[in-house]
Amino acid sequence: MSNIKLSFILNRKPYTVETDPGKRMLDVLREDLGLMGTKEGCGVGECGACTVILNGKAVTSCLVLAGQMQDAEILTIEGMRDDEIGRVIQECFVEGDAVQCGFCTPGFIMSAYALLMENPTPTRDEIRHAIAGNLCRCTGYIPITNAIEKAAKTLAK
């Protein structure tokens, strides 16, 4: 079908793109906007690698249609550097060796961000629950859980 004009807020800046509304949000981010930080893993919502924040909620961008970006507020990994919570989470991931191959990392950081936005003082169980939709095949989940716990403590200081 022909392209339509989509307007949305991405990483706190207004964007308008003309694209095929039948594309996935993941493809708009990567192909139309060149934001390659959001990764495609499974493509069916089962790995969490493409997690972004859509209207305040963590979602897998492979399961959102481009048309559904209309008027939305979206945060991706690229927006994390300009955000205190995002920056601290990233620093804790690096310092805590919560990154190995790095493919799953943007998705984990976005899930951690969604958690800490809603719950600044999560328990370890709440952290595990929040990242249960993200798969990692390298580090295991303990360094990732530790990094999010440390980020929450750092931000609380």
Partner: protein
Amino acid sequence: MKIRNYIQVKTVEAFHEAAKAADGPITILAGGTDVLVNGREDDVYKDCTVIDIFPVEALHGVCETENMLLIGACTTHEAISHDPLVKQYAPILAEACGAVGSLQTRNRATIGGNLANASPAADTMSALAVLHAELVIERDGEARVEPMTAIFTKPYKTNLAQNDLITTIRVPKQSPNVRYDYVKVGRRKVLSISRMTVATLLEMDNNGVVTRFDMTVGATFPRPMLFPDISAMLVGKRPSEQDIIGVAKALSDKIPEIAGIRKSTIYKQPVCRNISERSLRKLFADILK
């Protein structure tokens, strides 16, 4: 995903207009978590007008009448799992919604979309069945009410016409005395498709005599089912250990009877029996002492 046309609507009336005006088949997009997965294969939606109803505010949220919870069809599973009214009056549904997929999926997937997709493995089906939930379905602005279990014809198929829109899920409010248990069996705790769910809802009088009992199995039969013969096994009785064993056996015997003997039957039948026994022992713990 190849589609013919994409229309986003903000009201139910606008949906009806768009559905009427559509030239050819339509696909209703709610959360999109099933449509986008199906759309990966064989251009299944290439001739379809996709009508996106997720922005329809009237289809989101939970409200109550004297006897019913009214759940908007576009309410997400995550929203339902945390909703105070659902937790108070239908906690088994809150639990079932919390068992769906991952947080990311629950943040997007909707209860109405889940029903319309008609997957026999949908986590909420068994809970909605024992709650005797009903659906409000609108066609061209005319609303009708049907029992939830009545719309399914076979796996992934319903009797809904393409311009039928599920607008509301009506769930009878449960009294605080109602006891429930919901068990999901999957390959892992999160992000797993149900291999089986067992949902139980019951009520007893002050003497421990069962006044109401519904127990069913999900992800096992071609469509959600209720079993009056199973209910009759406990209603009017103060259950004993033998009754529990009998109900669990009768329920698990439904598997080959209804679904036929499949490769999974050798696994599912004993699992159903064991989970059912465990659930009933938990629910009747004070009676069995």
